[in-house]
Amino acid sequence: MLKRLQTRYALVLIALVVVVVLLLTLVHFTSFRSSLRNLSTAGAQAVSAEFLTLTRERGEAVADFLSRALVNPLYELDMRAMLELLRDIKALPGVERVVVFGTDGRILHDGLEMLPGYGEVAIDEAQSERLRSQQQALIERSDGDLYVTRAIHIGDDYLGGLRLQLSLRVAEQKIAVMEDEFGQLAEGGLRDTMMLTLLLTLILVVLVLLLAFFIAGRLARPLVKLAEKATHAGQGDYRALQRSGREDEIGTLEQAFNRMLNSLEETTVSRRFVETVVGSMKDGLLVMDPGGRVELFNRAAAGFFKTAAGRLHRRLFLDLFPADARERIAQAIERLGSSSQPQSLETECEEPSGRRIPVALSCSPVNIEGWHASGVVCVLQDISERRIAEARIRQLAQYDPLTGLPNRALFQDRLQQAIAVAERSERLVGVMFLDLDGFKYINDTLGHFVGDQLLAQVAVRLTSGLRKGDTVARLGGDEFVVIADMLKSYEDCAVIAAGLIDSLKRPFPVMERELFLTGSVGITIYPLAAEDTATLLRQADTAMYRAKESGKNSWCLYEKRMEIVNVRRMELEAALRRGLMNDDFELYYQPQVELASGRVMAVEALLRWRRFDAKLLAPADFLTVMEDMGLIVAVGDMVLTRACRQFALWRSRGAKLKRVAVNLSVRQFEEQDLVARVGEVLQANGLTADVLELEITESTLMRDPEQVIKTLRALKARGVQVAIDDFGAGFSSFSYLQQLDVDTLKIDRSLIQQVPQNADHAAIVVALIKMAQMLGKEVMLEGVESAAQLAFAREQGVDSVQGYRFFPALPASEIEQLLRQSAPSPGTELETF
């Protein structure tokens, strides 16, 4: 504290002021005290002189009075009278004694009743002689008393005298008291002055203190800031000092200091900075001295070994690692000596608990001043997460995320490994391609979520049914491949395939449903059929198709001839492409007859492919392939456009058709711009929306009910008619049906075929009709081919029918002709055709 500049300045200033004030005060006091004392003494002397004069005068007056009053008593020796007189005089203040003496100078009466002084010598003879001849009183002063002696005469006779002793002591005491009082007053004055001086000194000191601190502060504060800033700079804080704005030497010093800071900031990295950086590193940093002992380390390094920082220092670096890792690390460090290049390796750290952490260890030589040889700086990086990520990547690269089964890549790897093993062991490897029967339908009708759930369960079933070492992989969709190695014969593989098929027999519980599935398995055997993996997979695929063709839910061993079937499919696809390019597709129209009027009120547009060999193919022959080829949306749009164009043409020619029906595929219905596209087509052909009836299947409805309802509402809002095709053949949800804004239900042909002879079917159809009627929907029967079926339709109050009983699907030209024929007489009985 005392070494602080501000304090020192303040103390010096205060000391200076105090000394000055004390000196002034001392001089003032000395002078003042001397004056007071002189005044006091002079005053006392003056008073004393005055008092003496007064006492003398008073004594003379009293003596004069007594000298006359005592004449008779003395003459008559009247002691009583003398006593009373003397007693009265003696009672006066200041009178010490009064006596009456005779002519011999001896006391006759001393003023006391007992006369103790009687006979004493009051005055000597000389005094007596003087007194006799003197009218005035004799005045003496002795021992603080004033003696007044006066003669008493009667006439000229001298009777004696009186002697009055007046005490000056009282006066002297009073004077002394007065002097004391003067002195006390002086002392009091001095004290008051001293107190005032002290108070003023104190105030002055406080003011000077404040002033001193202010001045010293003005001087020292910038220096203190500079000192603090220098301390911070020493700790690595090179931010510029906030200047005080002074223009004096301190301002210059601040400028110079800031320039120094700038230079330091540009050129210096502080130890704290380095420590902060090193301490902030997530990676562990250790520096080994030439003896291999840890000399420096950061917090992260201690964390790797889960040890206290104190225990790490000076430990042998290699001892920090598990015993089985030390050799490799030692070799890496040793290599530093020869190559001087950083050495990296992946190893493990071991915590005291035994848990091991995978780390990347990077070592570099470092030359430290004072060390006789190079040290080593090592960086430890925790690669646990990297390892996990790598594993995850491997998992994603090699496994199917939905089922957890190996994917195609791993399958091929495993297959190669199995082939390699088989070659060495001269055993067979069976490759089984399994495709689920009907999965696509489930996926389309119940949605992908259900489909995915089902696939996951299928994967579990397949895996559980295999031997240990066998591999099940998912190639995509509902395609699975099984590798069964170490087989002795293909029969072993057949047994496994049968087991796979068998494992699927039990129902799959998905979303509170029980779903049933079968699988078709194609088998090929290495090395009997082929020796490369691609060929083996293709062969198994081909065999699987054969199994499907042969009725599904079965397995089929690959044979060479199966290749031919595959070739046919490829040819079909090529033909379809050519057909589209050549516009070999036509639209046929099957009339729909209104039972109440017996007239053709509408037609359904149906696609036909006139193949290069002039054979006319129905959609059932090519639609699946076309869908696999991804052509279905384009073809569907073509059908819509042509049908509307044709209908508009018919209309323009006077045909009385109420509407034209067009089938929409699932893919078409999922197109976002379906409604807009329909509007465009209608507008392009000048048609109102109510002339178009779009037919969708139940599977389309069930695929995504919410979206379907939305799309249907949009279509209905435009006025387009909607019919459900093939109603009753699928998984219709009646609750949805109630919500769906459809106009017509077309009951599926498969149900009609055995009506009315099959009572069960008839009952179902009747129920469907009743239900539709109750919901206010129009009902149309498809596939009406017989009179009985027609009668049934009429009997059930069906609105319209469609089928060979009346008209097959006809080219547009024939339809036009048909319409023209029937145009003059609408309502002609159907039987007339």
């Binding site: 020796l77 009583r80 009278a81």
Partner: protein, 298 residues
Amino acid sequence: MFSLALLLSLPSLLCASQQDPTTLVIGKVSQNPKKHYRYLKPIAEYVAERMRDLGVRRAKVLMAPDNRRMIEYLRQGRVDWVTETVMSASIFAEEAGAEILLRKWKKGVPRYRTIFFARNDSGIRSLADLPGRTLALEDDGSTSSYYLPLSILIGEGYDVAPLGSPRAQQQSRIDYLLAGDEINISTRVYQGLEDAGAFNNLDWRKPDHLPELFRKEMRVIHQSQEYPRAVELVRGGLEAAVRERLRSLLLRAHEDPDAEMPLHSYQRTLRFDALRPEELESIRALYQTVELVQGSAR
């Protein structure tokens, strides 16, 4: 008529004083009325307050400069109650018809006597040595230092005369000088201005009357018989009820705390008591010498 006569006679019957029947007047012969007034007033008020049932409403002090005047007052009924020494009492009794009521223990003393004294070196041993010598007495009002010494000397057959008397100087005559005060007596005797002195035995022991210095040089040459120190008298015509009430009040006064201060003021009286008959007789006998004493002064 009888009632009216009774009413008219009541004041004379009930009044304590002729001047003012409701006022009890105490009197004393004094050359210093100022001093003695303070002595007398408290005791007079004490008594008067206790005579309200007798019609007394207030007390009054009346002092006479000499016996003659007091005798007049007593005769005139202006004074009801007088305190005096025995000589004056005998005079008032005889000449004014006053009644000596009680003995007063003046200054705490019930009785005293007169003593004659002279310097040791005077050669005077008894009264018989006095003729041809001078005798210092106080004043002609003093009992113990005038009447009694002179009556004793006269009774013993000595010729006494005031100093400087025109009568022819005789060797057998004893000249007396009235010194005016006891201390003057003692001083004059001590200084040899007079040969002997006389005052009461109480003065002999008082250093202010006889300083030790003097007494050492003195001897008593004669002592008289004892007399009451002082007495209380009432005028002859004082109503009996008043007189008796006064007697009874004074006799019990020393027992009454309320009387303490008045008694002290009343010449430091300790108490009052009744006089024995022989004391009364001795007082009355004194009157026989009065004429002789007064005659000696002429």
